[in-house]
């Protein structure tokens, strides 16, 4: 048991928050424990934990009435609304498996994901309904659907699946990480640890997507475990614009949003954040020390951590950002870690059960004796603080926390008849980390045309490829190479 975390929260508060291994037990407990405290608000309307619990019970009754076998997969395709929050709690506590679809998912990805992940029913926000029109064999239901009567929580084994999360990016062929009730709840329990009193102390905002473990577990579930109030967020820009009204005290955000808030504070003063902000919990991407510095000067405590979808988000957290600004912190309770050939391996209740219907990738990630190979190179100092020293995998981690596989971005270049080789990587441009590509032209295809035309062709090609990509995945920096890449023994481009 790590005192580092247990010492953060007053003992009398820790005693009020037991570790509960299933979503059903948790939903019942939070309704009873925090009954009259405000739970969810959209600014216009606020409901208490008792009201939330009752609505979730009515949602369960509706879901039970669909006639699906327990354990069936149910997707939730919504923005970060009250409906989406209630549905996630209801689906999981009724004994079904929830899958939150990102709000930005295009039509073909919705159809492909429903097939790939065996979705039996999908709750859809009205606005997204046209994207589900071509679905076959899937019950399409309004996100607002609710019954009059209530249904009790289902009794499930903690090792049964509770939710599936997209991982490995939302383009290309994403995998589905299956989290059991035990994993989801261990991640949620770990989300309670923050310096100082935590119960009923904070106003959260669901700024990050609920399809992302950091937004759902560190944000929403951490909020509910500690009996706090969360504001819904159906439009990130509009919600940030309302910070002076919402007056959040705690934000769970990625470094990219920290940067936005820092920029707005610089231009319009710290009152833009509402004047009540006391803590930022940042993660899902590397946190530059300059951000810690900016917010510390504003009197905001800055905590950040490290985690993966496969570890139900939270593996480590650093509440000592000032003294250890480059560390990703110490390991959360309930886990064992070791460094094998420089790579961090993790074991614990919070580990995922595997990638859905992908035994090959699961075997690559999980050892037979239950260790997760994180793919991250790590150093642990004598005080137990972890430091990332590199990444084994080639994944590019964007500033918003999403992962991009460079290989998936390279594919369309290889489909072009004028490209010999291309390599996508993370690079720097104007002080920002951006996605860059280096292209080696297939010169015979240009038939002796001037170099300017070759460069113009490649720039146009990048523009064409970018048009097919989400803005976050677009290639910003282009280099057209005159010399060959460094190559491996098998003549593959060496990724350096």
């Amino acid at each position: 048991m790590s005192n580092y975390f247990y010492d953060m929260v007053p003992r009398e508060e820790m005693e009020r928050m037991p570790y509960l291994p299933t979503m059903g037990e948790f939903v019942e407990w939070m309704e009873k424990t925090y009954a009259d405290s405000p739970a969810v608000s959209d600014l216009a309307h606020t409901i208490t934990y008792k009201e939330l619990g009752e609505r979730v019970a009515r949602r369960r009754a509706y879901i039970n009435g669909l006639g699906l076998p327990k354990g069936a997969h149910i997707a939730i395709f919504d923005r970060n609304s009250q409906d989406a929050i209630e549905l996630f709690l209801a689906v999981t506590s009724a004994g079904y498996v929830a899958m939150n679809f990102p709000a930005s998912l295009p039509e073909m990805a919705v159809i492909g994901s429903c097939m790939k992940f065996d979705i039996a029913a999908i709750f859809v926000r009205d606005e997204f309904k046209p994207l589900t029109a071509k679905l076959q064999g899937v019950q399409v239901l309004p996100a607002s659907a609710i019954a009059e009567e209530k249904a009790p929580v289902a009794v499930v084994d903690p090792d049964q699946p509770a939710a599936i999360f997209f991982t490995g990016g939302t383009t290309g062929t994403p995998k589905g990480a299956v989290l059991s009730h035990r994993a989801l709840m261990r991640g949620s329990f770990n989300a309670i640890f923050k310096p100082g009193k935590v119960i009923g102390q904070h106003r959260y905002i669901a700024l990050l997507p609920l399809s992302h473990v950091f937004g759902l577990i560190a944000g929403t579930m951490g909020c509910f475990y500690t009996g706090n109030l969360i504001f819904t967020c159906e439009d990130m820009k509009a919600t940030i614009g309302k910070l002076p009204v919402i007056k959040p005290t705690l934000l769970v955000i990625v470094p990219g949003i920290c940067d936005i808030l820092a920029g707005l504070c610089k231009m319009y003063g710290p009152q833009f954040l509402g004047g009540s902000l006391r803590m930022i919990i940042s993660g899902a991407a590397n946190v530059p020390p300059r951000l810690v510095d900016i917010f510390t000067k504003l009197g905001v405590e800055f905590c950040f951590g490290y985690g993966l979808t496969e570890t139900a988000n939270l593996t480590s957290a650093n509440a000592d950002a000032i003294t250890h600004p480059t560390s990703i912190g110490k390991v959360y309770p309930g886990q064992e870690v070791k460094v094998v050939d420089g790579e961090l391996w993790v074991k614990g209740d919070n580990l995922f059960s595997g990638y859905y219907k992908d035994p090959e990738k699961t075997a690559e990630a999980l050892t037979p004796d239950g260790w997760l190979r994180t793919g991250d190179l790590m150093r642990i100092d004598e005080d137990g603080f972890l430091y990332i020293t590199g990444r084994i995998k080639n994944l590019i981690i964007l500033s918003n926390g999403e992962n991009v596989s460079p290989e998936s971005l390279e594919e369309p270049f290889y489909a072009d008849p004028c490209v010999r080789d291309a390599m996508v990587k993370e690079d720097e441009m104007n002080g920002q980390n951006v996605i860059a590509v280096e292209i080696l032209p297939l010169m015979p295809a240009f038939d002796g045309k001037p170099w300017e035309e070759v460069e113009a062709y490649m720039n146009a090609l990048v523009k064409k490829i970018n048009a097919t990509l989400p803005t976050t995945h677009q290639i910003v920096k282009v280099t057209v190479r005159t010399e060959d890449f460094k190559r491996t023994g098998s003549m593959k481009v060496a990724r350096v």
Binding site: D235, D259, M267, Y268, N400, V476
Partner: protein, 80 residues
Amino acid sequence: MTREEVFEGLKEILSVIRPNTDLSQTGFETELVRELGIDSLTMLLLSLAVEEKFKMRFPDGAPAPTTVGEVCDAVLAALN
């Protein structure tokens, strides 16, 4: 307010958002993504900062501008 006045205000914001970028060559045709390295999150900051500076709101669902000139035009359209 003229397009040039909006442009000057926008350059002030860009000088904060992109402190390491030489904006002396920035014009109406400058591309936000390719030439200024503005990704989707920075675009969010830019739009919030522009709304605050010019006391206007971009309409919901409006297409994202791709050049500096398009930002100026969107501001003028919202103001008018």
